[in-house]
Assembly symmetry: C2
Amino acid sequence: MNQFHPQIEQSLSEFGSFTPEALIDLSALLQFRRFDENEYLLEKGQQATLIAFMLSGAMREFYCTEDGNEFNKAFVFTGFVTGSLYDLMSNKPSTATIQCLKASECLVCNYNDYITLSKKPPCLEKIHTQIITRLFCLKVERVHDLLTLDSYQRYQRLLEMYPQIEDEIQQYQIASFLGITSVSLSRFRRKNREQGKPSSPKERSFNKC
Amino acid sequence: MNQFHPQIEQSLSEFGSFTPEALIDLSALLQFRRFDENEYLLEKGQQATLIAFMLSGAMREFYCTEDGNEFNKAFVFTGFVTGSLYDLMSNKPSTATIQCLKASECLVCNYNDYITLSKKPPCLEKIHTQIITRLFCLKVERVHDLLTLDSYQRYQRLLEMYPQIEDEIQQYQIASFLGITSVSLSRFRRKNREQGKPSSPKERSFNKC
């Protein structure tokens, strides 16, 4: 029953603190899952059922349009929550697909069981609100960037947010996130190398949400 | 003390139900405010302090870039919550500006007072979580539309969501939301008229969030 306590605390401690009882209850719901590279956590059109707390690895959340084009909407790294919360809440066929970009380890549980539990101990309800708040802030920043930044500025922003991303994620996946071709991304990388730009992390407001 | 009960219930009932005590406490915080057309609720760079529950009218939330370009990120209608929740939470100078597109009536209160209160009665905490959840879903849909739809499809989506929007909002403001020129928007409107397309409302998943 208690085997996941360290991982849960690692994954969720930034959202709030647990009572020992809540930790036991949550631990009882969670299952450890290892996903292979390219494996799917969720496919478009399925009913989303699993909420996943990332322990290691990397995933992408993407939209696939009817004509087969893919648009990466977000990357999911260690410490993130995924499952496509929007689709988990909608109770409709999923709009998004989630795929592992690297072998990944997660704690997963059935979303409805998690929601039922999170309505009981106040500490879990607070953590759930904090998770939604964090995701809300990330989406606001994504809208801001899509509306006001050009593709090179969005590339710079991505490097500020995730300085190691180019070591971890394939170039064409990053290009899909930015809405550009791999050729354009290569040009941006060359431009940065020529200008000697560091990929220093920069805090964004959502960290305070 | 009790003068705002009907308006509060009108504005917030879809997010949850109140105990009589919570309604009295919330009513004591809220002030009725009437804004003129073009008046600002929040300007970029200010510290956001007011959360506003819209009773009537229309506002726009927009980003203004350093070179003076404006990008409408959202419209705010009756029943919506605004104040730029992202900026209210960030505790930093506001990234967004909020301006009335029509004379508007709101119930407003200091965000910190609202948060302090919403941590006390469980019913208010649930309502606050529902508000964040609704805003999260709206942002997910905005990201979806910006990534996967072309500007004509985004126009169609906007008409589905808000069938009366063209009667209420000036064309150039709608064009700014869609990221197109007024000339392009006129072309879309002509195309719809020629095709006899109705502006029928269509449910989106966020309604279930």
